[in-house]
Symmetry: C2
Subunit: 276 residues, 2 copies
């Protein structure tokens, strides 16, 4: 019998895809879904599940133990909690008392959560451990290829995203003709792309680069790209998208590549150590 997988489920379709992968592999699975984040319809009702608020860490840990989970994966988008919105239970409050509430503003929060769950005896695994196909290898993923000017824009964006990542700010930037049109902070990639649409200049379109932060906990919170990212990039007049090879997730690999091919965009997985 394979080890039971617990899924701490945020937004998007990733939790449901993990559930499907477990079923296909005959692996038992339990979903701990986060209220206001997890999409109940996408998840479906036929999987063993429980729902908690983000502040209910104590209840969540108890439920995971009761379900007999050994491995644990965190998947799907989660807005950073606010102190006011958290309404922490005793366990959550103790966690933050030790960590300091200022950790809410810090990506080391995720590492601390990971350590806390490991101390509970769970083995934390990454989405790409369960769904290895989601994390692209280095190279051109679709039909279209970047020309020399697009490669220069990618190199410039890599430089900017790495500098921002080192400061724990964001994971993405858009560069067109050498000019940094936009830099991603908490607004997310979709809003970055939406504003770059208005900032685009005549001539060859820009590129979007998304990279994992240096030293980032790769078992959680990898940069994610899906068909929506591609259609938003196309709407913003971009020529292509470059993601971090081995350290990003294509939410739906086939659909994402097909969307890029259809829109005439290149889709590239890069090693920033080489591309920079």
């Amino acid at each position: 019998m394979p080890r039971k997988l617990g899924i701490i489920a945020g937004g998007g379709t990733l939790p449901a895809r993990l559930v499907r992968a477990c079923r296909d592999a005959g692996r038992p699975v339990f979903v701990l879904a986060l209220k206001d984040h997890c999409d109940a319809a996408a998840l479906g009702s036929d999987v063993d599940q429980a729902w908690i608020r983000m502040g209910e860490a104590g209840t969540g840990i108890r439920l995971l133990h009761e379900a007999g989970v050994s491995d644990l994966v965190m998947a799907g988008g989660v807005d950073r909690p606010t102190i006011a919105g958290l309404r922490p239970d005793w366990r959550t409050a103790r966690f933050f008392a030790r960590l300091g509430f200022k950790a809410l503003g810090d990506d080391s929060l995720l590492s601390a959560v990971t350590r806390e769950l490991e101390a509970e005896g769970f083995c934390i695994v990454g989405v790409h451990d369960v769904l290895p196909d989601l994390s692209p290898e280095t190279g051109i993923l679709g039909r279209h290829t970047p020309d020399e000017s697009a490669r220069a824009d990618i190199a410039r964006a890599v430089e900017v995203v790495r500098a921002l990542g080192a400061l724990d700010v964001g994971q993405g930037a858009v560069v067109q003709q050498g000019i940094v049109l936009g830099v991603e902070a908490v607004e997310g990639t979709d809003r970055l792309l939406a504003r770059c649409r208005a900032l685009a200049r005549p001539g060859p379109g820009g590129v979007l680069v998304k990279l994992c932060k240096p030293g980032q906990e790769t078992r959680v919170d990898l940069p994610t790209v899906g068909p929506d990212t591609i259609s938003n990039a196309a709407a913003a007049g971009l020529r292509g998208v470059a993601v971090h090879a081995g350290r990003s997730l294509l939410v739906d690999r086939e659909a994402t590549i097909a969307a890029a091919d259809a829109a005439g965009l290149f889709l590239l997985a890069i090693d920033p150590e080489v591309a920079a």
Copy 2:
């Protein structure tokens, strides 16, 4: 007779303020206004002036010589030109042939323009040389003061803006409760503030920090803050604004400070070497 000042005039009220300062000081003045950028109404018709497109460098230099200008100041906002929009005259084309058109995507463009004008015998001066009051000294400029948490947000924003500035990306960032809400690229401060309004979190509001880029040509393109910046910052729920002491411009010092006082925002000029 004081040396005649030439003003290469972009958008906003700064060119008109320079004209007024020259008049008050009895200094002769000539305005070379940039079409599609300079505001004819704000400038007024009673000052000696000529209008050129940005691509007409040859005509512009001839007009400045004919007007007998010795000192030259560049003032007011200018969108970065596109190759298509530039329609360069012979002199402009020669300039870019030497520099490479990719310089359009590079802030070294301004340094190159400065060098070119110096080679023509003009002495390039900064706005703050003509209007020293516009560049604030280190300290609290208005009635309100940042508390400890606001100072921590300022320090975090300084760190981010300096890193971005070193990469020649932008001059501003908004930080709230330690979280970088937004980072400025080409969209400008007003649009940065507009989107941060939607990204703001409950609890103490954020801060805007605007700094001069390290090694930036301080005679041109200093970060600028005015009453509009303050009202946009207030609308975004911010608690205050920090600008670069000695290396930024308060477009209208009294009105800007009055706006901050009225809105309950602190307005601070900082030395980033100390604040970081």
